[in-house]
Symmetry: C2
Subunit: 428 residues, 2 copies
């Protein structure tokens, strides 16, 4: 057993107790690999009495943040309390006191990552956040280290387990959105207020973090066009399936001629695409590199122990750096000027579902609108809804976002037509 | 642009030229990330005239190994020449001269990894070999760094692209073994002599390397029970499919109570298993950890550029270490006493296909033999082959290897029965 590396943990929820469990359970291996006995000294909790129901061997519980943040023996702070404002304050204080920080807080890193990285650098401290994206999948370290040799072209991620669980239930078991949400809530995969998950916000935050690392560009949350899954219905899932696709909530960051486009929304994935097989609460990140080609990293996106393994692997890196005297080097040193791809340069196939008045000439008008915008059709399905209305499904050829917007705007002006669905289509 | 880190490359085949290409193409990013201009100074080739057809900007070709190995300006040797004896000699010489080494040579690492790691340590040199397993998939670094926090329980790998390509062709396009092999050879996926691939030897070498890193145990190639794909035929592929499985060549390393069992052979994978979707020449490694659960790392298992990205990511690590003054730390410091699981402790379901004389009493005898060995049946299919012979397919319940061997040995003693197929079955 080597020297002690003492840790203060902020928060004793699922991830916090997972971290404590893993540090105890795998102590021997961790100590062999790092040369340190990594031990939790203090845990910040809201209510000491309530927290006592967990095992609290060898460490102290406190409700006073300064007990942890000002303890000179504590070398590393693990922030797993969530929230933004308070967590930011505590982390800044810790870094300024020369403590290394490991956090699982994607909201904080997506919003204030820049500032925290700068303060960590100034104070020669490590700041790691592997657990903030895709739980147990070591995707950030893979992008930063293993793919450093390559030019990453595209990152596609199923990075929200709640919505992927719901969509799997809706696809495989033909449940409605409401039924799927209820089941996700009953199993603890979804919050009472599911907004952040179902509206794609959680996924967008994770895409911001991955985009910064993969492309070296400092994109912000506002730069991400974000759509959620509330609008996805049985019809689209079934039609997509007939056409050979599955609908998943996917975040995409793609580079084109030195600029990047990031979006989150429902997409149609070919059923043979590796991401199509990612079901239930699992996550996966599909990375395309100029040299390596297509790779995918798959695993549990959430949960006490998976997320905690990522936190502990960050702790192990802090310990290794401490041993070698190499703390304080930026996790990611790749920087590229931040540029956003213009609408004219963002190309994709699109899936559209609309209804129109079923009378002579309407379909002609529809095709004229698309032809004028320069949008070609790859597939069309038309079916009567009732005597007066027809449902039309269109899969376009690859077209620019600008062209597609021109067409859909014109369609919306027609009182006889109404667009219900507009999703991106990933090509096989 | 920072200081120069000069590289000598041994071998100018596909991987060698891929490495040179990537170092040129991604020079700016690599230099930003490492602080070094990593440049190839000399390349060892068999025939200088022949090698000239490649671009040879900024470096010298030589047929004389000592030109490279004794050049004091060369700090890193990249060994991509293949072979065992000569490569071992050159690498040992390089390490003893204080040069860091990056190799893609799985045969060498599987056979002499121990010795090379020891010599690298003595000379405070880096020795990395990410490209030796699963081409472009950064699986070794993931096991060593990202999964260090976890206790790995099982590693299953589709790590031979040639056989996976052949099996995909046999499954999806109903080709015969011979047709699939011919196509693989025509596409350059299989050698003229395919022994090392189709007999599972290549996969076994990669499993040895992964087992050492994942379990810290020093297993040898002889410890790996290795079967290839020559015996796989249409009948088994079809019956397996009907039962809900796909047949793949899978290497498995599993830990049970502190001991490990490693094997390579055809296995039946549930069609819903993530490894089932890994097709053609792609590779994937499925890792089960006590805490993280199930993760999978997928990508191209071979090819010029994918393999070269792994070599260059190793070079980047050497460069980062040089910057920080931290060269010479063992890639993997996890060690565990090497123990092999006994036959009585290796449990699995099995798929057996046999023929037997179709007369009253034979089937009873068969079931008695299995009952006596304590092997239960999960599924049985019996079909007549002709008037005198029946084909029987059995999927057993999970049973020990010892029990199964007892049963199959007894069956083989019966002149009325003959076993054709005996594959492991992975449970969903």
């Amino acid at each position: 057993m080597g020297a002690k590396l003492q840790v203060g943990v902020l928060g004793f929820g699922t991830v916090g107790s997972g971290v404590i469990h893993i540090l105890e359970e795998h102590q021997e291996k961790i100590s062999q690999v790092t040369g340190y006995d990594i031990a939790v000294k203090k845990v910040l909790v809201r209510d000491v009495e309530k927290a006592r129901r967990y095992e609290t061997n060898g460490f102290t519980l406190t409700t006073e943040p300064q007990d942890v943040l000002e303890d000179p023996e504590i070398a590393v702070i693990v922030e797993v309390m969530g929230s933004i404002t308070t967590a930011r304050e505590y982390i800044l204080q810790a870094l300024r006191a020369g403590k290394h920080v490991v956090t699982a807080n994607k909201d904080l890193i997506a919003l204030h990552g820049d500032e925290l990285v700068a303060v960590a650098q100034e104070n020669k401290c490590d700041l790691f956040y592997e657990a903030s994206v895709a739980g147990g999948i070591p995707i950030l370290r893979t992008i930063v280290n293993s793919l450093a040799a390559d030019k990453i072209q595209k990152v596609m991620g199923i990075v929200n387990g709640t919505t992927n669980f719901m969509l799997t239930k809706m696809t495989e078991e033909k449940k409605t959105y409401e039924e799927a949400l209820e089941e996700a809530q009953a199993l603890g995969f979804a919050e009472a207020d599911p907004t952040s998950d179902v509206d794609g916000i959680d996924a967008a935050r994770k895409m911001v973090i991955m985009t910064r690392l993969a492309f070296g560009m400092n994109v912000q949350l506002d730069d991400v066009e974000t759509n959620g899954i509330r609008t996805i219905n049985k019809e689209d899932i079934e039609v997509a399936y007939q056409l050979g696709y599955k609908i998943k909530l996917v975040g995409t960051a793609e580079e084109t001629n030195g600029s990047v486009n990031v979006n989150v929304g429902p997409v149609l994935l070919p059923r043979s695409h590796p991401l199509s097989g990612v079901n239930y609460e699992n996550n996966a990140v599909f990375v395309t590199g100029a040299a390596v080609g297509e790779t995918m990293f798959y695993g549990p996106g959430a949960g006490e122990l998976p997320t905690a393994t990522s936190v502990v692997s960050d702790l192990i890196t802090v310990a290794k750096n401490s041993k070698l005297g190499t703390n304080g080097n930026a996790f990611n040193s790749y920087r590229h000027e931040t540029k956003h791809t213009s609408k004219e340069q963002i190309f994709s196939k699109h899936y559209l579902r609309l209804t129109m008045v079923d009378k002579t000439g309407t379909f002609l008008k529809l095709t004229q609108i698309f032809a004028e915008a320069g949008v070609g059709f790859d597939k069309i399905l038309q079916e009567p809804v009732d005597d007066f209305t027809a449902s039309v499904v269109i899969v376009t050829h690859a077209t620019s976002k600008a062209q597609l917007e021109q067409a859909t705007k014109r369609v919306e002006e027609e009182p006889e037509m109404q667009i219900f669905t507009n999703y991106l289509v990933v090509e096989g």
